[in-house]
């Protein structure tokens, strides 16, 4: 933990000021609110879909009993209570990642548009301190978003006694939020990197969005599920890739870059909805992919902020 020493005081001040600035941004607030609404929706969808499958089973069991057919086991009983939150993985990778891009972008764009860069350049401040401060602000913002989501999901489990979690379940849930924070940081750092390095504000937003589209919809086609829209359904997204040497090779070689798939795999393992037949072909474990991506993009974002022209204010266009 960072103490309150004289050396890190500017970093703390800059981070706190950056957080206060983005908290006033309506677009950031709108996206964060949408994300939190979807966290509630995810829990409702999980509960509603599970209850409906259960009701269909009971109705089917009545029918089979009337026909004198053997009654198979209830698929709901094979489902872990944690799987109630399976849609969270989808919403984190959709709206959460987009919100993280906007937060990362605004942390830098806010200063650039306000014209405070030349002013910051006159202060006794190392350029790397500014980068570290912005990264710290991003970590705090993402942590706040994830903690809110965690609080909502925890409340969901407490008000639904039929979905009881043991100590292991709560630990897994904690691991899921930690992984979600890592995944959101990937896109937050990406937004910060291009917010600092792009000459135009629009391009600074659109490049990370294009990378997000590629990671979410294009890469998983080659490394796992061949249908792009399958990414929207937590269960369909984990359908096995076709049995072919091509998919074995692309899964192995491109798996480490297919971060949306890596996040889905870790989430499915933690929330207990991983199909037993699924094979991960990636050259490195999914969690390692996420950690490497966060470290690399965090470094790139800090370096991009540190390299910013402190004599210039606004974007070119």
């Amino acid at each position: 933990m960072m103490g309150t020493t004289l050396a890190n005081a500017p970093i703390r001040l800059l981070a706190a000021h950056s957080l206060a600035t983005i908290a006033r941004e309506r677009t950031v607030a709108l996206l964060a609110l949408l994300f939190l609404v979807l966290v509630v929706v995810a829990a409702y969808l999980g509960w509603s879909a599970t209850s409906t499958v259960n009701a269909i089973y009971l109705r089917s069991a009545e029918y089979m009993a009337a026909q004198g057919q053997p009654i198979p086991s209830n698929p709901v009983l094979d489902t872990s209570p944690l799987a109630l939150l399976r849609n969270m993985a989808t919403y984190v990778s959709l709206i959460g990642a987009l919100a993280a891009i906007v937060v990362g972008h605004q942390l830098v764009a806010g200063d650039r548009k306000a014209g405070t860069m030349p002013l910051l350049g006159t202060r006794p401040l190392r350029s790397v301190d500014l980068g570290v401060a912005k990264a710290l602000a991003l970590v705090v913002a993402i942590a706040a978003l994830v903690l809110f989501a965690a609080a909502i999901n925890t409340a969901t489990f407490l008000v639904l006694p039929e979905f009881h979690l043991d100590a292991g379940g709560w630990a897994r849930l904690g691991g899921f939020y930690g992984t979600s924070a890592l995944y959101l940081l990937v896109f937050g750092f990406l937004g910060m990197w291009f917010g600092a390095s792009a000459k135009s504000e629009t391009v600074g937003l659109l490049i990370p969005v294009t990378v997000w589209l590629t990671v979410t919809f294009v890469l998983p086609q080659i490394t796992s599920n061949i249908n792009p829209v399958a990414a929207l359904n937590p269960v369909s997204a984990l359908a096995d890739a076709p049995a072919s040497t091509f998919f074995q090779l692309t899964g192995w070689a491109l798996g480490p870059f297919s971060l949306a798939e890596a996040y889905r795999l870790v989430s499915a393992q933690l929330l207990d909805f991983m199909p037993p037949t699924f094979i991960d072909r990636s050259a490195i474990p999914p969690l390692a992919s996420l950690l490497i991506a966060v470290t690399a993009l965090g470094g790139a974002a800090v370096a991009a902020v540190a390299r910013m022209d402190m004599t210039k204010g606004d974007y070119d266009a």
Binding site: A49, I56, S60, P75, L213, V235, S236
Partner: protein, 327 residues
């Protein structure tokens, strides 16, 4: 008449030239093409794998001295390979529409030329019509390119020439895609024209895109009980189709709500129409085109109504001189 149309054409021509110079619209269209080709290549490789499995199973039966005719020959519909392409048009095509619409307004606001235009002897509707005409032309050019490349790739990959009806099917889906992208163009244009801050307009348009293109279909898909159990709940319970329908009758309200959420999204209308016309949805594979088009007219009407409503909104509201600059 010429005096009325000429300013519209002048503005449209200028906007098209600007858009061609704007690298990002070109890059996003290239991205759509690349993603589509990846989708087609992947679908072809998966199909090749399925064919190899079929041949292997048949050879295995023959080797065991059994009757190979018990395995039916698989039907091959080359247009089915376009599933991933259609899904990319749903997602990326909508973004391209938003970007073209955003650029059409942002280019004027960024250069402070919008305030100048409203001082010229040109009606507001002429200015807006010029922009919409240019947007329609740019979207159409991008889609024609994408569909020609996709069609050529299908021929190249499958080794099957498309017949005239297949080409009409492709043209029908392309027209629906044009209408779909036009709706998102209007969304991007309206928000960028009216928003106080330009980048906020882009974010607002992306938020609406996220809601209609990804979240509404996601909720509808997730609420489908058959998607909640790997392989499908009825398959796991080994219940035949007629009994499935009988059981599902008890859940008609639930299904109505689920379907209602899905059809709130223009994406789902475009998808349902395209999947039916191209035979991607199994129940429509090999069926003649005209009855499919007749059945799916409501989806087309929905797309048309959404584009029309946004168009009316655009033309009905007067341009606010205070919102004509960059910030």
């Amino acid at each position: 008449m010429h005096d009325l149309v000429q300013p519209v054409l002048t503005i449209a021509g200028k906007d098209i030239r600007d858009a061609v110079k704007d690298r990002f619209v070109i890059l996003m269209t290239a991205f759509l093409l690349l993603a589509s080709l990846v989708a087609l290549a992947v679908a072809a490789i998966a199909l090749k794998g399925d064919v190899a499995t079929y041949v292997e199973a048949k050879a295995g039966l023959i080797a065991l001295g059994k009757d190979a005719s018990t395995i039916p020959d698989p039907a091959f519909y080359p247009l089915k390979l376009l599933r991933g392409f259609v899904e990319h048009v749903e997602i990326i095509g909508a973004i391209i529409g938003i970007l073209i619409g955003y650029r059409a307004a942002a280019s004027e606001r960024g250069r402070q030329t919008l305030a100048l235009i409203v001082t010229r002897p040109i009606a507001q509707w002429q200015f807006l019509a010029g922009k919409v005409l240019a947007g329609t032309a740019i979207i159409s050019a991008g889609l024609v390119l994408a569909f020609v490349v996709a069609g050529a790739a299908v021929i190249l990959i499958s080794g099957v020439t498309l017949n005239p009806e297949d080409i009409v099917r492709l043209a029908s889906v392309m027209s629906a895609a044009g209408l779909y992208a036009l709706a998102f163009f209007l969304l991007g244009f309206v928000t960028a024209l009216w928003a106080k801050k330009l980048p906020n307009a882009l974010l607002l348009a992306f938020t609406v895109w996220l809601g209609f293109v990804l979240i509404a279909p996601q909720i509808g898909d997730t609420l489908d009980p058959d998607n909640q159990v790997a392989g499908g709940v009825f398959k796991q319970l080994q219940i035949a189709k007629p009994q499935q329908l009988e059981i599902l009758q008890s859940f008609s309200t639930y299904e109505t709500i689920r379907n209602g959420i899905e059809v709130a999204s223009p994406t789902k209308h475009f998808e349902r129409l395209s999947f039916a016309v191209l035979g991607i949805k199994d129940t429509y594979a090999g069926q003649p085109l005209m009855p499919i088009l007749a059945e799916k007219t409501s989806d087309l009407v929905w797309l048309l109504a959404i584009a029309l409503a946004l168009g009316l909104l655009l033309f009905a509201r007067r341009l606010d001189p205070n919102r004509l600059s960059k910030e």
